[in-house]
Symmetry: C2
Subunit: 480 residues, 2 copies
């Protein structure tokens, strides 16, 4: 199409070919010239310092060392075998979890800098833990440092949206059964459903009652069902869901259905109380995102396997706390590179628009970091009715993400792209060089505490993360 | 692409443009001419009698009468609201079902003309009913006319593959809750799963034991669950499954999952015996085609609503008995137009090929008649790994079927085609005029009794059905 347009223009009195130099192009247009705009951006946005970094990374022997390291990291990622093995209480199973500690999504955060929905979820967590009797008391406690805040990622955990995990909450336990990383464990709370829920910052009585039901009834029954059923291979389940119109982040109906089919017979076998079983099955059936909180620790488990490979430029974490977006690189585990969280472009619920939106929030971008979510959007054309855009956007997104990734997942395949594998392993170098940011499918929280979801759409990380990471990565390579 | 090729050839010394006149084209090629082959077929295959019929149907005022009738038939079809309302015993709920009567798939058939798998299923049915003690006795009984054979379609029923329904079998009851047709009921047996099963002509002890379990345990529990749950809107369920990679005929994983989610909580509530519930849920969970036997009576229910509209050229039935393929037209309900059943092109299981295949068999082509199955193949790209071909074939099939259909289903939409509706209502006139037969996704039975499925693929009806129907339809119009 572009070529056709070019040919057509070349027939006429063409004066200027624009290569992204906006001032010159606009000037030429103003002067009456016919301009052919070619969407071109110079590598690294034309920034001389970053071009210098890229030149350094592309020089031998370093370039080959990085390529080999990425190959190793990706191979460890693909070798990971995340299995759902159980359900436990955060205090008892999550490493480093203690009373008074609240985990949250994204990079480190203080109460002062926390956004509305994050504050709402912390208030709800305090009420759930019985540390305060009213929201006002809870807020006072939080503001005075009465609870410690640490990122989920510092405890091998992930949490959607606010991602608040408190000591008494039940969590999924995912364990790596693969090769070198066997025994790695990751964690996530259970999904509450839609409407007024803690992860979107709601903390009303209804939210707390539901969280109590989840801890008292849902979690013990899931734990018993898993004991009867045995471990569930999450990669196999995800691979099937991708053949069934899920992308693993914002469309989860197939994965939830397949998990339901695995759990229901085991739960019936394991638990005698029919009324309770029916209640729990109805709860799961009413929430098409139930599996999201398992897909996330699956992704985290695979990415943990890739961490700690010197010279690897592959991303191992992308996460947002509602204020900042943070990324980590596989060769520098634990180091955050952050920038301001962005506003989501997409479909807003009736009565809401971008002015009501909280900036991007949640650890769920771990799905994109692992090659699913928006990276597999072509597998889930129906998602455009939820996040906006056309089916073509879904195809294009998956194709574009292949440009900034290291390989194709042999198990996660995309039917609409003739079973091409999910584009996997975001390469820090490629993102900067091609000026192409990862795309993330995400839900949108209202910016005020206690309101909930107001839409869904697409979002990118801020450039600051990648610029900071690039500089640190060059330093890392120099110091090896 | 064709245009490009044409342009390229037109540059050179082109001598002949071939328009499907094979002899002339071959002669020209042999004489050294450059030939541009244009894939052209004259209307109605060039047959003067059928061209005459089409001319008659295209002449006013008849043409408008037919168009209006089709509009009415399609509108009744779309107005139909098939709901799953219960499970009963064939003898008690299927109209006209009596002891000694066996229903089968496709148009009318005698034992003498029955194929291997059909004979196998009848033998199995006789053993199940206790009318004989050994397969040999059963065969003797059948050959001597000891059981009456009638098509399922004569009793508002449909059956996959051999489609044998005996009086004691449990059946799904689907009821139309929509407009004029409210109260219409259709029926289908329950799906047995894969492997050695009656519908593929197997009749070993294992098959009979499973059928007994289905009658004694599965069916009563499904019936109780439905009493608790209330009716299930099958169109809503199908609409969702099409967004999840099903096409409703040979890929049924999503639909089965969604049905499972609806039934499980209700079954747990309705039935006290945990062990039995777990056994039944495990049985359903092990069979991704479980929903097929509900999709079929849903399709039959919608098509029944369209029957009986004078002048309508819309097809209301396509069905095969393993020997013959039969179709019916909405304006002439009950009248069969038949031709020899064809061999399926597709993927055969290891050790098998087309030489082992029974000709096309089963009432399941009712799905394509209703606009799903192969007509919605673009919704189910993953199916090509089962029936063969590429993802492009899936897209092309859905696009081609739109050429021979009357409208688009407003509820059944195809994500990959930007949510275009399923191409619905096969128009007898268009099939003949465009020389374009309906495509059907189907399983393949071994030609010998007792072996089972040997593959899956695509198949077409024989032309004889459409030629016979066209002549009768012209007669029908003349006699109005």
């Amino acid at each position: 199409m572009k070529l056709e347009k070019a040919k057509e223009l070349l027939k006429g009195p063409l004066n200027v070919v624009g290569l992204g130099l906006d001032n010159i192009v606009e000037g030429a247009k103003a002067a009456g010239s016919t301009v052919l705009d070619v969407p071109f951006k110079p590598p690294a946005g034309g920034d001389p310092k970053r071009i210098g970094f890229l030149d350094e990374l592309h020089a031998e022997p370093l370039a080959s060392k990085i390529d080999k390291a990425n190959q190793e990291a990706l191979s460890r990622f693909f070798g990971s075998q995340p299995n759902l093995v159980g359900v436990g209480i955060a205090r008892e199973v999550v490493p480093g979890m203690t009373d008074g500690l609240f985990l949250h999504a994204g990079p480190p955060l203080t109460w002062e800098k926390a956004s509305g929905p994050m504050r709402g979820a912390i208030i709800g967590g305090i009420l759930l833990e019985g540390l305060a009797k009213t929201p006002e008391e809870a807020e006072k406690l939080a503001a005075s440092g009465g609870v410690r805040l640490e990122p989920c990622h510092h405890h091998h955990a992930v949490g959607p949206m606010a991602g608040v995990m408190t000591p008494s909450m039940p969590v999924w336990i995912v364990e790596d059964k693969g090769g070198k990383n066997a025994g790695n464990r990751t964690f996530c709370t259970l999904n509450e459903g839609l409407g007024k829920v803690l992860r979107y910052g709601a903390f009303s009585e209804e939210v707390i009652v539901r969280l109590r039901f989840m801890a008292d009834t849902l979690a013990p029954m899931l734990a018993k069902a898993l004991e009867v059923r045995g471990p569930i291979d999450l990669k196999l389940l995800m691979a099937q869901a991708l053949q069934m119109g899920d992308e693993g982040h914002n469309r989860n109906r197939a994965g939830t259905s397949l998990l339901f089919r695995e759990l229901a017979p085991a739960m019936v076998k394991a638990v005698g109380d029919s009324e309770k079983v029916a209640k729990v099955l109805t709860f799961i059936n009413s929430n098409d995102h139930f599996i999201l909180n398992l897909t996330m620790p699956m992704a985290k488990c695979m990415l943990m396997a890739a961490e700690g490979v010197p010279y690897a430029s592959m991303l191992s974490v992308m996460a947002r706390n509602g204020t900042e977006f943070g990324i980590q690189v596989a060769s520098m585990p634990g180091k955050w590179f952050t920038g301001p969280a962005q506003i989501v472009r997409g479909l807003y619920f009736p009565g809401y628009d971008e002015s009501h939106a909280n900036p991007d929030i949640g650890d769920s971008a771990i799905t994109e970091t692992s090659g699913i979510g928006a990276f597999c959007m072509a597998a889930a054309p129906a998602i455009v009715q939820f996040v906006g855009g056309s089916v073509d956007l879904a195809l294009t997104t998956s194709r574009e993400m292949a440009r900034i990734t290291l390989g194709r997942n042999p198990i996660f395949t995309i039917p609409a792209l003739d079973f091409l594998g999910a584009p996997t392993g975001i390469d820090l170098r490629k993102v900067v060089e091609l000026n192409l940011l990862p795309t993330i499918n995400t839900g949108v929280a209202h910016k005020d505490a206690g309101i909930g979801q107001v839409g869904a759409g697409l979002v990118n990380p801020p450039w600051e993360c990648f610029h900071g990471a690039l500089e640190a990565f060059v330093e890392h390579c120099r110091n090896q």
